[in-house]
Each structure stands twice: as C-alpha cells, then as structure tokens.
Amino acid sequence: MADLDVFRKITLALEDGTVLGGHSAGVPGTVSGEFVFNTAMSGYEEVLTDPSYAGQIVVMTAPMIGNTGITREDAESGKVHLSGFVAREIKSFPSNHRAKTSLPDYFREEGVVAASGIDTRLLTLRIRERGSLRGILTTEDRSSEELVEAARAIPSISETDYVRKVSSSMARTVHPSGPAAFRAVLVDYGAKESIVRNLLDLGIEVTVVPSETKARQILEDRPDGVILSNGPGDPAVLDDIVSEIRGLVGRLPLFGICLGHQLLARAVGARTYKLPFGHHGVNHPVLDRLTGKVLITSQNHNYAVDAETLPSGATKTFESLYDRSLEGLWFRETRIYSVQFHPEAAPGPHDARSVFGSFLNMMSGKNP
C-alpha cells in the first residue's frame, strides 16, 4: 500500500542548519520559501488553496493529514499557491462522502512538492525559537551542506512581489441569490473565495478586481464600499498599492482583511513589522475591545501593524490575547474598518463572521 511503502526520499533543509528527511507525497522537485507552521487540526484543503501562503512552505502540526481527501468544494482558490507542504503523516486513503480525490493524487495533479514522515514537532519548536526560517524542500539527492547553503541563499520573502503573482488578472462580478442591497469592490491581493461567499450571503454584489486596479478606476464604478483582501508577503514592499489605497481613504467605506488591514494601516501612515514566527492557526483568541468578548479566530499572517505608530483618530478594536498584537482598527471619520484575522474562517471557527456585518453597517451609513 502507498501509505506503508517508502516513497521517494525527500529532504528539507533550513537556513539554521536543520536538515530532516522524510518521503515525498507529491511530485519530485525542489522548492524553496519561508517555513511557517500551522496549528489547525482540520482544513488542509483550504490552507493549500489559500493564496496568502504564496512563497511559503507550510508545516502542519496536526499528526495525520489527508484523512478526508480533497473535496474541491472547500477550495479557497482555483489552485495551490504555497511553495511546499510538510506533514508528519500524509494519508492516501480518503474517507469522506464529499472526497473527490486523495491528497497525494491532488498533489500530483497540482504539481505540489510535499513531504510526509517529517518530525514536524521538532520543526515547529525550531521555528518558534528562531523565527520563520528560509528553507528548501527537495527530492534530489544532494548533500546536507549543499542544501543548507542553498537555503541561506534563498531571497527574503520581502524581495518578491507575491501579490502580483496570485492576484487575478481580470475583473469579475458575482451576484447574490436575491436582489443586491449593496455593491462592493473586492481588491484581490490573493483573496480567499470564502470572503466572496460571506459577502454574497449578506446580499452584497461583489466585483473582484486585480491588485493593480487604480483608485480612480474603482471610484468611477461608484461602489458602496471597498474590501481590501488578504494576500501573501510583506506589506512594506507594496508601496504602489498603498498609494492607490490612499486615494480611496475617506471617499467610501473601506474594509481590510489581513494583508488588506496592514495595507490600510500603512496608507494612513502606520508602520508594519514582522512577527517572530507569525500567527497561523484556527485557535487564536482575539479580544473585542469594544464589547470585552473573546473571539476564537482563524489567522494567517507573519506581519502586524505597529499600534504605537497609528495616527490620531484610530480606534483599536481587536487585540490578540496571545501576544497582545493589534488585530483590528476603526477610523470613524474616514470609515475604515479592518481586521488582522480572517472573519471568513475557512478553515476555522465562525466566531468572527459578524465583522462582515460591521462592513455592511458602514455601507448603510452607520457605525460598524
């Protein structure tokens, strides 16, 4: 059986000198990127198809991955965006009534380099202690020294414009099942499909536009609001996008999610910084500072907004109960509302879905 017999060997090497062996569960090849760990116990299909992971090699901490196969219905985009995938044990037998294919077959279909049989806990502890690490994943037979050397030569994630790579190239408009109460533009920096689904559920007509879309073009369309989506990479290197966002500020309600939140903060003059190893998981507690309630949220980011650098008029709406980092912003005057976490979940709990309602309120001229 496929699960039992050792597949092709695969080796993983990190810039700190860590070298681990496992077996390939995907296609042969060599990929590189920033290693991050994700602690979600379910939802690997959503993780694989989340464009925010572009440029990263994702290490799942859950012990067994692939149990439910691939449904295709749960995908967050049309393809796999992450650079590589690492797990303790990847199962080739799927058991779920919705499963269309097995995870290893999907890897082969999508051309994903994936490693199984890796000591993911060791890897997680290294990343926790040393921060996100650059590394390489390869099925080639190369010496450890060579691989570590190669890992050290990988350009930083900030040097690549991943947004451009994952953003859609053409605009599209989707309509809710009933009459649309509002029309909104979703700027796609690597948007997850669930954001669209949540907006449609609220009766919002959504036009998804490419990341390079100019503020002027968006305003010409006279939407009721604009959503700045999640996406991959370092917000500090996206100055072009930030300046376009500046052109939207104050003109209509703006709603940012994850990267979109970071970009909005930069647009109003705040700084962003890199977290030691980021937040990647579905169990992150966030305090709603306005109600005092705790939301369990889905998170996936390596950068955060420096709360110290916020301009006046900013209300800090949410904060992480793990590291007290800023998780949400509201500017009453300029009608900006943004969150660092993922209200659309997928994977993850639905606690924060009401945030979409806040956007709806702003479009209705009310406070979020």
């Binding site: 059986m1 699960d3 039992l4 050792v6 760990f37 602690t39 979600a40 116990m41 379910s42 939802g43 299909e45 959503e46 901490t61 859950a62 012990p63 067994m64 149990n67 439910t68 449904t71 219905e73 749960d74 303790r88 044990e89 199962k91 037998f93 058991s95 779920n96 009534h97 919705r98 000591d119 993911t120 806990r121 060791l122 997680t124 502890l125 926790r128 998981g281 579905v282 169990n283 992150h284 507690p285 305090l287 005092g292 309630k293 705790v294 369990i296 109960l321 793990y322 979940a345 997928a346 994977p347 993850g348 709990p349 639905h350």
Partner: protein, 1081 residues
Amino acid sequence: MPRREDLHHILIVGSGPIVIGQAGEFDYSGTQALKVLKEEGYRVSLVNSNPATIMTDPDLSDSIYMVPLTVEKVAEVLRRERPDAILPTMGGQTALNLAVALSKEGILEAMGIELLGSSIETIEMAEDRGKFKEAMARIGLSVPKSFIVKSLAEAQEALASLSFPVLIRPSFTLGGTGQSVVYNRDEFSRAVLFGIEQSPIGEILVEESLLGWKEFELEVVRDAKDNAIIVCSIENVDPMGVHTGDSITVAPAMTLTDREYQTLRDAAIAILREVGVETGGSNVQFAVNPADGRFVVIEMNPRVSRSSALASKATGFPIARVATRVAIGYTLDEIDNEITGNTPASFEPSLDYVVVKIPRFHFEKFPQSDRVLGPQMQSVGEAMGIGHNFREALLKALRSLENGTDHLMPELLPDDPEEIGRILKISSDRRIHQIGEALRRGIPEETVAIWTGYDRWFLREIGEIIELERKVSAFMGEPLALFPDDLLRRIKENGFSDRCLSRLLGVKEQEFREMRLRRGVEARFRTVDTCAGEFAARTPYLYGTYQGAPEWRKEKKGKESVLILGSGPNRIGQGVEFDYCCVHGVMALRELGYEAVMMNCNPETVSTDFNVSNRLFFEPLTLEDVLAVVDREQPRGVVVQFGGQTPLKLMKSLHDAGVPILGTSCEMTDLAENRERFRGLIDRLGLLQPRSGLVSDLDDGMEEIRRIGFPVLVRPSYVLGGEAMEILYDEKDWNEYKKRIATIDFRFPLLIDSFFSDATEVDVDAIGDGREIAIGGILEHIEQAGIHSGDSACFIPPKTLSMQVQNEIVRQTKILGEALEVTGLMNIQFAVQNETVYLLEVNPRASRTVPFTSKAIGFSLPKAAMRLMMGESLSSLGLSGRKIPVLPYTSVKEAVFPFRRFKGVDTLLSPEMKSTGEVMGISRDFGGAFRDAQIASGMDLPVSGTVFVSVSDRDKEEAVRVSRDLVALGFDLVATAGTAGRLEKEGIRTLKVNKVKEGRPHIVDLIKDGQVQLVINTVSGKQAQKDSLSIRQETLLRNIPYYTTIEGAKALVIALQTKGTPDSLRSLQELHRSILLPEKA
C-alpha cells in the same frame, strides 16, 4: 469579570460511590474544583459518601460530610453549614439530580442558596428529553425522531410511526441505565417497562435508531460573557449504537473536514446558549450520517463528564478547574492556561499527537452476561494511549488494558466468512481484535466496514498494522541480527510492543529488547502542551513515542526523583483506592522535597492530573514502557506498592533489570506471595493458617481436596480481585469449576484452602519501617469469611472481637511485618473462629481498605508509608510503639455492586469480588453508621411493610432473632415453608408463601405485585442458589433492598432500631478532632 465577592461559602456535591458510568473522573473533577475554590479563598464544604477519593481528604476542604447523597441528608448538611451556593456540576449525574431534587423541594430557595454552574431550568432542559427536543427545534437543529411516553400503551402508539430497530431511553438516568436497542415487538414491551421502571420520573423516550451513524462529541466551556470554546473533539471509532463510554474513541476527530467540524462547533455553542449553560463545561454529542454528512444532536450534559476528564487528559486543558473558575465569575480570558503559563484559557487546544481511549470491560466477573455492547454502559474503566499516529495510540491503549492484550490479539474465528460476518455484526468487547483477525484472514476492509459500521479510515489504519505484522512475521525463525533496521524503526513508530514483536518473531522479549537497544531504537518523550508547540510549556506532561527527535531530557542538576507506578484502568478489584495511595505518595514526596514522578495510563484519575506530580508520564504500565521511563528519568527508586497488582506484577522483572525498588524488598514480597515459602515462615513464627494445598494440574485437584476436606475455597494464583475464586462443597462443584476455569486466562498453581464457616473475617492495615510495625486499624467484617473482602461490609473499630483477640491480632501483625521487614504499607486478613486467630493472607502493599482506614482514623497511611520508604522511621514520625487511637465513633464501609447493568446476573456474594465501589457511613453508634452506609450504597431502607425471609438451614437460628426484631419494629413477615415453619414454632406470626417451583401464586408474584419491601434470602448449595435466582433478580429489578447473608440482616436490624438524632451530624474534620490520642506505650 473578576471573581464574585458576594459569595463566601460554597458547597460541592460529590458523585458518591464508583459505579459503572460514574467513576474516578468525578474525583478528578471534584478535586480540581475544591482546589480552585480554596485557592480563591472561599470557605468550601463537601458532601460525598465515597471514602476512596482524594476529594474527601480533610485538608482539601473546610468541612466534609461523609453522608448518603440523599435530599434528606444533604438538606441536613445545608441547614448546618448554610453555604451561599452549591456547585453541582462536578459530581456527575448524581450531583445534578440531587440539586434538582433539593430545588424542587424548595430547600434551596428557603435557605437562599444559589446554584452555580447550571440553573435548574438548564438542567431540566438538558435532561428532560421532551424539553430538549423542543429547544433543539427552536434553534433549527434536528434530533432523532422520537416520542416521550409514560406507559406501554403510549409506547405502542409511538411505534406506529417508527420502524425497528428503535432505541428506548429512560429520562434522568446516568450511563445509559435502562437504555436498549430493540428489534421486535416482544423485546419492545419488555424494554419499555424496564425503562419506565428505571427512570426516576417514570418516563422514557422511544427513539429512531441511528445504528451505524458516526458519533462525535464536543467538549465546550462557556463563560458569563458568552465566550465559548471547544476544548476537544472526540470521534467514536465504534459507530452509533454502542454507548460512548463503551466505545473506542479518538481525539481529535479524524474523519471530519473543516467545514463539517465547524458546523458541529457552531451547533454545540448554539446548544449551550439555548439550553442556558452560562458558566461551565458541557458535553454535546452528535451523530453524523456517513453517506451524506447530515447530522443530528444526540444529547448534551450540562456538567463536566467522563468525556471532559478524557478531553482534559487528551489536551492538557483542565476543564474542571476552568469550569469552576468560570462558575465563580471569571471569564475565560482572565484565566491562565496553566500549561504555558502566559497564554489565556480562552483558546482552543491544538493537538500534534493522537489519543485513543479504549474501555476496560470485566465480563469475566459476570459469566452469565452476554458481552453484547449496546446503549447501556457496561465497561468498568478505560485506558488512554497517546501516540504520534492513530496506530501507535491504539496499540498503546490496547496494551494498557491489563487484560492480557499487548496488540490486536489473535482471535478464534470460524473459517466461513459468512459466520465471521455474523460475529462482527455484533458489537462486543472483543470486536477490535476480531476486526484485526478478519483483516489478517484477508477479508477486505470494505466488507468489514459494512459488517461493523467502522469508518473505512479506521479500518485502513488497522489494515496497516496487519500489513506490518506480516512483514515482521516473515523474519520468524531468522536470526535477530538479520532483522532490518528500517523495519525495526517503522514497527516501533507504529506502536508495536516488544512483547508482541517477540511473539511474532518467536524470540524472548528480553532478547528483542536488547537487540533494539543495541541498534539505538529507543522511546523518546514529548510534551502534551495544549498548543502543538506554538508556545513553550512549563508543565512536564509527557508521553513516549518512537518517531522524531527527543524533546524532553531530564535536567542534570535537578532534584532527586522518585517514580510511582499507578494502577492502570479501573476494573473490579482494582479501583480508585490505589490511585488514592499513589496521589498520597506523590504528596508526601513533594513535602519531602523530592521530584515526584507519576506514571499511569488511566484518564479517570487524580494521579494523571498534570498538576499533581512534578512530572507525569502518560504511558502504559508494561515492563517495556516502565523501563523506557526509568532509563530516561533515572529515579532514585520506583514505588510499586501503591498501584495494586499492576505495578506489583512488574516488581520482579524491574528488580532483575537492576531498577531500585523502594519499600519492602522484592525478596520479602515474594516470600509473602509464594505459598510454600510463606507456610515455612508461618510455621517458624508459630501462627495458624487454614489447611491448604497447591495444584499444578487440574487432574490432581480432587486428590488434594480430599486431603484438605470439603468445603474448600479454590482460586488460581496471581489473579486480581479473586477472579475465578469459588467455594466448593462437593465433587460435583469441583467438576463444574474445572470446566469453567478452562475458559479463562489464569495461571497455575491452583490454590486450595479449607473454607471456614462461622468465622469472622478481619482486615488489618499497617505500616512498617523495615524493623517495626505500627497498626493503622483493625477492620471487622460483617459478612463471614468466604465472601470476598472487597465485597464485604466492614467497620472500624471492631465490635465483637474481644480485647484478647484484638491484642493477638496486633501481636501477629507485628511479628509478621517484622519478619517480612515491611517498609511501607501492609494489609493482613485474619479469620477469627471461637477466639482463635487464623492468618488468611498477608500483602506487603497497599490494600483496597487503605483510604477507608485512613479516613476513619484521621491519618494518611500512604503518606506515612511513603516517608518510611524514603528512609524515615516510625520513631522519627512519632509513631513508634503507638497504641491504636480510641475512636469515639464507628465507620462502616459498604460495597456497591453493578448487578443492574448485567442482564441475568446473580446478586449472591461469593469469594469472587464483584463490587465496583464503596461508601462510608460514620456515626457515634454502629447502627447509625451502618444505616448511612446502606442508604449511601443505594438501598432504600423501608420503615414499614413486609419482609420476605427465606434462609438456609444453618441460618435458621439467627433468622429467628432477626425476625422477632423485625416484627417488633412493626414489619410483617412472609416466608417459604421451611423458614415459616420454624418461625411459627417460635411464635412469630408469618405468612407462608410458595417457592417458585411450588406453584403460583409464589414469592416472585408477590414481589412483582409490590407486596414485599425487604428481602432476606440466604442460600447454601448450588441447587438452592439456582432455585432462588428469580427472587433475587426480581428484587434487583425493582430496587427492593435485599440481604443475602444473615450477618447483613442482623446489622440491618440494628440500623433500623437506631433512631437518628438530627444534631448528631459532624464533619469529618470535627470527628477527627474528637479522636483521643493514646499515650505511648
């Protein structure tokens, strides 16, 4: 929100005795709750009747009342203590039901006492099937189609819109009591009537059966700000139809997509909101149709449960502690995650390992039971395995069960696949092994999936184990040196035990282990940290695995450590009593400044709370696993005398492997256990023992018995809880015994003792320092020798033993203990016949009575024992030459039995232990203490009505006195001819009734008709036992108090004669303060 300042005094309700469906997990939750409330500075009171619990330790609360958990008694406690609030969510269904009853009677309202954690409305909405159904409809969730009925007629009406099989579920019962799946009209009527009888409100649910659907449980905690978290998801490997307590379960859920899981999560939280659990933990159960993912809500428990104990151990998230904090006003974000220390409890644990729980059954004890698993829980305990993958966790849990399994064992299955199918379609305690065997035979996984309803994913995992087995077996007979390295690593990573592997390869386990160690394939230890490594854990809660790099290493400069081996899964004969001893050992070690290291595999215990010891290894208690821990831990010594038979069995092998054993030496323990060597010692000391012999071949049995003389007591050596122990009266009995024992797993030699009738049995608990012995207490048994001491009621101090006999018992205990150089605990059983003391058994280790004795005398024997093992002496503890303290009160221990769980089982007591738990009654006089113990054990003692008396010939004399007293108390008597004749002759008015075989109307008709309120029925001889079986079964079914020994009946009469005085209620602490400490000799 911070802690509530308006409360000052909180009372916790315990769960009473250990019964099936309600076991040590509530000691775990109750103990956590007590500790939290004390930490928070509240005055805390406790009511519980179970002495074998940590929660009833006098230093955990301000006042403990060891009283029956009845409305009347608890109301008395409330009137005396006047707490501001009651926390009823920690003591299982018992505590919840009691809270409802106290509220319904207006007692809580009258005294202005608030309920914490759950309101009455909430409890009722969750427990009342009708209200729950309506609540689910309000939030748009489906429940199985069902009808609430209160009579057979209504039930039959309901049946019209359902199709068989259907499920019968009584309202307000625990552990699925009275639940059954029925397949036809005949079974239906019986199940309906039984269910109505079992429900305290006479109501049942007739429900559509979801046989074969997948079953999931979510553990939810919610606070006053409406923050809710899911601590853990648990998937049942056994599909719907088997009670979750009897199912193999796995955490986290393995076969749900995120979308499906989030749907269940949303539903679980919505249910808590609708039912109104505002501050506390709950368990919500779902059934999912594997064909289309449709789900229905099965039930929810608005309290901590067995599953929450499991979830706590599986994740490291202490649900009971957090639920208690939430109940007193904190919100989740204000509570620390104690494992990481710097993140809040308002998060959801993430697991990077797999946990499998397997129930422990004890059907061997109840040979008449059919071993078929269903909606009514029958397991007596459970073991949990933690591994890097499902296979490792499953195999670790299997070898933790302490029932001879170390793997998926070979099973006897027929050759015909169709017959195999018939067997596999029925869920039984052997099913997991049968599945393994079927796959071994080459039956396709999809076929097995259809037969068993197991998800294909699990069968694929089991299939992988079987495939690996084949790879290993290919090397059978080859030199071990040729066994490939990569295969060795792979099988160990898949959880195979050395014992199983050595069997597959036909080598000795030790040879295999040596080969493995030579190749550097060793277990490494990893942390259960609640967060999959995202944050550093400061609490060393560890499990062993073979994959990956070692994570935990002992600090070189750390304190000296001591390893205590726990007692494994609860089963009959080995329950929480031993966990109590382990925990006290840990406490003593910590007081002494050692690092106390605990090793155990039972999630239902206090000892496996990561807060209790300095380090916890959650591992199977097999030689392989213990040696692996010892190797990494390098403790100063290992304690094997606290955990009962489980660690004791390992003592010799550990000693041989060079592991230092603390306490009484291996040599001396062997001397006490080895019959022949022990007899030599007894002779040398000039002590008396009943005549006895050994048999190593069943064919030699009769000859040896003739030498000793009937009646004899027979049992195999090294069997726990007196399993397969019987009294034989004649040769026919012996022949039947031979047949029966051939079917069970036992070890020769067979021990044969002359059986003493009319003797009083006595237990002594003592401690020694290797030179000297101090007596803890002398316990007099109520039932005569011949009934297992664990099943017998006993009391302290003794009542009928003369001072001379007591002194002789003390003398014998001391010379024996000194001769065995007992260091730590010891227990001796004596029989006293006509003022002569006979020695029955010596055990240089913890006994089942240690917690009871410790509570009765106000002194922790195991703590002192631990100190003695670490080198302190009795004189340094101030115990040298101490006389037994004078107790101004009597403590009675009564056993609690699981008979109602097993259809067709006889309730007669025998030398084979059958009880699952115990209760304690304390009062100034024996009568009051015995009465409380009886009521606490579940007997509903009548104050008037009719008593049925039917006794064996040798009890007739005593029966006359008992009957006379009963008449004087105002009872009417009915009796069968023999007994009636005798009573009439003595001038006692008795109504004669037919025996069952004498024609109708007979005694069973009378009982069925509700005309009998109390039964005294003693029998001798197998025939008489058979004849009277239907009487005992009917009595059991109707919950009529029954006594099967004349001694029990005598004690009952004393209890009925004793009138309680309301002002006599005292807390355990007050009672302990009243003990007169004797002068030193």
